[in-house]
């Protein structure tokens, strides 16, 4: 139930428009339990077919959502580039400064949203892997390995393009931001950081990071298929960033 809880947390802390598109982990777990306990051997094949059907449903959901977002990001990315070009040409007018500030904010938020999409992809993949593992364990099936091979090829998991866009974003930052005076490499200033954590995307990012760390804490069913534990250098600061509760949308 640990993953299930973490996933639920993550969903609650994610962007409102995204919450419906995560893995229905709990339901799938219930199904696995149902299949393993209730079905006599004769119905095994049918039960498995249903299970696979549901999984495919989920994968379709991920794929549609992911590609939709990806398309938006591609458009937005191009837009930002055009805006930056325009601003660079404008010289030192007053509007330019205002526009530049807007662009900076936009880039950072855009970057954040893309990273959150990658997180979305990853957490759903992790959930799928876990549910398949449970299925095999409970029913003695051999579904996991071949199925996960297919999942690896799905659009929602092939995040290379998003990663590339993210890197490009980071590169554009230098041209838009003034050269950093202080060491911005570490999270400094707890107080300031605390306040900032209230912002939508930033808050979600912090939440995502911490959730990831939690999930990677040594599990009871550690095997060759498990990921090693995770430790961030600034994780204690990250924890303080989380003091503010997630913003509830009425």
């Amino acid at each position: 139930m640990k993953f299930g809880k973490r996933l639920k947390q993550q969903i609650e802390q994610s962007l409102p428009g995204w919450r419906d598109y995560f893995l229905s982990y709990k339901d799938l777990k219930k199904l696995v339990r149902l299949i393993s306990s209730a079905s006599p051997p004769l119905e095994c094949g049918k039960a498995e077919a249903e299970f696979v059907c549901l999984l495919n449903d989920e994968i379709d959901k991920f794929n549609s959502f992911f590609m939709e977002q990806e398309e938006d990001f591609i458009i937005h990315h191009k837009e930002l580039q055009q805006r930056i070009e325009k601003v660079m040409e404008n010289g030192n007018e007053k509007d330019y400064k205002e526009e530049l500030a807007k662009i900076r904010k936009d880039i950072v938020n855009f970057h954040g949203e893309m990273v959150l999409l990658m997180n979305y992809s990853n957490i759903n993949y992790t959930g799928l892997a876990k549910i398949l593992k449970k299925y095999d364990k409970r029913t003695g099936g051999v579904l996991r390995l071949p199925f996960i091979q297919k999942v690896l090829e799905q659009p929602f998991f092939t995040t290379d393009l998003i990663s590339k866009l993210i890197k490009e974003c980071e590169n554009t930052l230098d041209s838009v931001f003034p050269p950093s005076v202080s060491d911005a490499g570490t999270l400094r200033g707890e107080k300031e950081a605390l306040a900032l954590a209230g912002e939508g995307i930033f808050q979600n990012t912090v939440a995502a990071l911490l959730t990831m760390q939690e999930m990677r804490r040594g599990s009871s069913t550690h095997s060759h298929f498990s990921l090693p534990p995770l430790k961030f250098p600034d994780s204690d600061i990250l924890h303080t960033l989380q003091i503010l509760p997630p913003i509830q949308i009425p």
């Binding site: 498995e48 077919a49 059907c53 938006d72 458009i75 996960i148 570490t186 306040a195 900032l196």
Partner: protein, 441 residues
């Protein structure tokens, strides 16, 4: 004719998670007999599982699933379909659906619109994944039956867009002429189907065209932007014109339409284009952070945010690579194990002594239980394999702990089970042999 669906199943399995073979066989047979005993888990899925297993896979194609969802007719279809199959002794095998004449006649008695829709669905499934066939037949048929505007005629390739192909310029997937064309022709020729095809097909046909998902890339978007600017900007450019100008194979007007819509939104609301959804969540937080931002400096605040995001990104990349590597290893180990298993099989066939050793190994590791008393099950039957696996004689742990002597890796067990194409587990078969149980063939 009965071989035609053989073409259907195999290419499809390449693209979509496939169901293991032998359960499909039993599943198919059971479906014709166990109609009433179905206990659907969710509405959407249960409808599809009543299909033959192939159809379940077909239904999962993202192009098809949406169109399937909007059909109450769909539900009624499956009942009548199965009734027909029962009455005509029609058997649903996984590899072949025998479209003998009797069965076809029965189909025609069923409310035809649904049946044809299903045909189309299955054909679309083939279109999605198969790489053979001629495109021209499809066009002819389309022209005959359906009166649509020009864009649809030229865009039959829409149906063939494989959503899993990230590169837009994927090859144009073509119809296998045997499969779909023949079946469609059947319905064309029969009197009842002719007229109805027209009206019916327009709706399910429209559905996949709109729902077929395109995976956009920056390069494709560049082409789009170029086309739009050439046509006078996003206000003046029309989807049809853009489509023609872009001249990209596989792109449909629906893709262009939706993309243009997104594009327009992005241009005129640059601030909120990053996600109108999160705007609400921002309001309260923004007020709180506004003061501190001015003291800390907005730039610094943004840098901080950026750092956290970068960290998350980095960790996600690492995690993803780890996951990929883990599965790679798993696959690799499976192969190794498969080889070992084959070697072992050969060895055991050669000499009895080997079998004695191994069975001893097993007995030693058996917990004291009554497991050995169970009669040798029929190994080839999936249902009995389930018993065998739960049989304490051959529990999963035992199997692999014995196996461990041959191969030290822990996950070899899991991989080992995968060496067969389905639930047919030669290992268990072997074990049963070694234990002195009668190998049931």
């Amino acid at each position: 004719m009965s071989t035609s669906f053989g073409v259907l199943s195999s290419p499809f399995e390449e693209k979509f998670p496939k169901l293991p073979d032998s359960p499909q066989v039993t599943l198919g047979r059971e479906l014709t007999t166990n109609l009433t005993s179905l206990s659907p888990m969710t509405p959407s899925c249960s409808d599809k599982t009543v299909y033959s297993p192939n159809s379940c896979q077909l239904a999962k194609s993202s192009m098809i699933s949406e169109s399937l969802k909007d059909g109450d007719s769909f539900v009624s279809y499956q009942h009548s379909f199965l009734q027909a199959s029962e009455s005509s002794g029609y058997s649903m095998d996984t590899e072949e659906v025998s479209w003998d004449n009797d069965a076809t006649q029965n189909f025609l008695d069923i409310p035809l619109n649904i049946h044809v829709q299903d045909e189309l669905v299955e054909c679309r499934g083939v279109l999605a994944s198969d790489g053979h066939g001629r495109n021209t037949d499809w066009h002819e048929w389309a022209d005959q039956l359906i009166k649509v505007d020009d864009t649809l005629d030229t865009n039959w390739s829409d149906l063939l867009v494989d959503v899993n192909v990230p590169d837009l310029n994927a090859e144009l997937l073509e119809l296998p002429p045997d499969v779909c064309h023949r079946q469609i022709h059947q319905h064309q020729n029969s009197p009842t189907s002719g007229g109805q095809c027209c009206s019916v097909l327009s709706s399910p046909r429209a559905a996949p065209l709109t729902k077929a998902r395109m995976r956009w890339t920056p390069e494709l978007h560049e082409v789009f932007v170029d086309a739009v600017s050439k046509l006078g900007g996003n206000e003046r450019a029309t989807p049809k014109a853009v489509l023609k100008l872009m001249n990209v194979e596989g792109l449909t007007i629906y893709h262009v339409k939706s993309h243009l819509q997104k594009y327009r939104t992005a241009r005129y609301k640059p601030e909120s284009s990053e996600g109108a959804s999160e705007k609400k969540s921002k309001n309260v937080a923004e007020m709180m952070s506004l003061d501190l931002k001015t003291t800390m400096g907005i730039t610094e605040a943004l840098r901080l945010q950026m750092e956290v995001q970068k960290q998350l990104h980095e960790q996600l990349e690492i995690q993803r690579n780890l996951q990929l590597r883990i599965e790679e290893q798993g696959k690799h180990l499976q192969k190794i194990f498969e080889q070992q298993r084959k070697m072992e099989e050969n060895k055991s066939k050669a000499s009895l002594q080997n079998s004695n050793e191994l069975s001893q190994c097993q007995m030693v590791e058996n917990p004291p239980s009554s497991g050995n008393d169970k009669p040798g099950p029929s190994i080839n039957d999936r249902s009995n394999i389930k018993e065998v696996t739960s049989d304490p004689c051959l529990p999963t742990d035992q199997e692999y702990s014995c196996k461990n002597s041959l191969s030290p890796k822990r996950e070899s067990f899991e991989d080992h089970e995968l060496d067969s194409s389905g639930f047919d587990r030669p290992l268990i078969k072997q074990r049963a042999k070694f234990n002195g149980k009668e190998p049931v063939e």
